[in-house]
Symmetry: C2
Subunit: 185 residues, 2 copies
Amino acid sequence: MTDINFKSAISTNTARHEPAEGKPPEAGDESPLFYDLIELLFFAYRDFTGDPDDALARFEFGRAHHRVLHFVDRNPGIMVTDLLGILRITKQSLGRVLKQLVDAGIIEQREGHHDRRQRLLYTTERGHALAEDLTRLQQTRLERALIGLPDGSDEIVRRFLLQMIDPDSRSDILKLVRSPFSLKD
Amino acid sequence: MTDINFKSAISTNTARHEPAEGKPPEAGDESPLFYDLIELLFFAYRDFTGDPDDALARFEFGRAHHRVLHFVDRNPGIMVTDLLGILRITKQSLGRVLKQLVDAGIIEQREGHHDRRQRLLYTTERGHALAEDLTRLQQTRLERALIGLPDGSDEIVRRFLLQMIDPDSRSDILKLVRSPFSLKD
DNA sequence: AGAATTAAGTCAATATGACTGACATAAATT
DNA sequence: AATTTATGTCAGTCATATTGACTTAATTCT
């Protein structure tokens, strides 16, 4: 199998498009800062999600299941409505995935104490163990990614990621992730 | 519209699952480092891809089109095979998306000079302009994300992202992204 | 020159994860 | 009593991806 093989990805022909324009093609005028960051993010995120994807494939589950499992495990007793808000998907999309997780004994629904309309979500013992396995995979990758970087790099990455998020959502997300570190300047 | 609304995401009930285990539920024993990084990455990447997603929705294009457009624009004259290797999708998946981009006058295919089997890919003038627009959106977000961080933070983020990638792919990806900065220690 | 390999494209069938819009039920709130 | 909220469900659709088989043309290998 040829694995990744984009050995000749960079062509010798540098003509980008019809040379009908009067611009020099590669004159670093106003354009391409952070091209590399854009692409590194793409590849990094792909591999980051790849670990749990592969692990879940054995259970016939996909990334959607992972996301639901993760946030339920992290927020035991979360309401369906709030989970929908976090994931920003529709009730229908969640419904199918959630049903499969419940049927598989990964997630449990309990009636709300004060409000009996609610179906509060919890991971079962099995579900919690699975969630931990998946988290461990991603933690291992994160640890590896921080090796060799100066002290405090994890804090810089945290702040970078937070500021990548739409400003409007940041405070909600901060509450949700409840980082053990500062982040609050 | 209730926008994001996960105000009550964190339940007061902290029982994670059946308390049938002898473990204290929240005793930070061996487990949850980088929980926040895992979640920040999820939200950051979603918003990062959201900008181009929204922009492309007007053209009836999706994220798959963006990826193809991006890598063709960055690697003019790339072979179909190499593009498949970069995106790690199948010929069939690429085929449909590529056809739509060609039909829309965004991407152009030219016969290889030395090897006439090849259909080398180029962005058209329009395609290049569109790619630049989308890139600009993401660059703006990246710039904003680095504001207020110490000097050299961009370099730390670059190294972090590179080390998030599977070690086997790193050298190929480094060639591809051809970062203007160091990254090579 | 003939065989094997490579580059690209195509066909059919399928799966996953998402969507919209409408509707239903029960419970809580006003 | 009327309204709103929380959840679930139905039917239909779409975008992106998959597998496996097969074709055509061109290049390379022996």
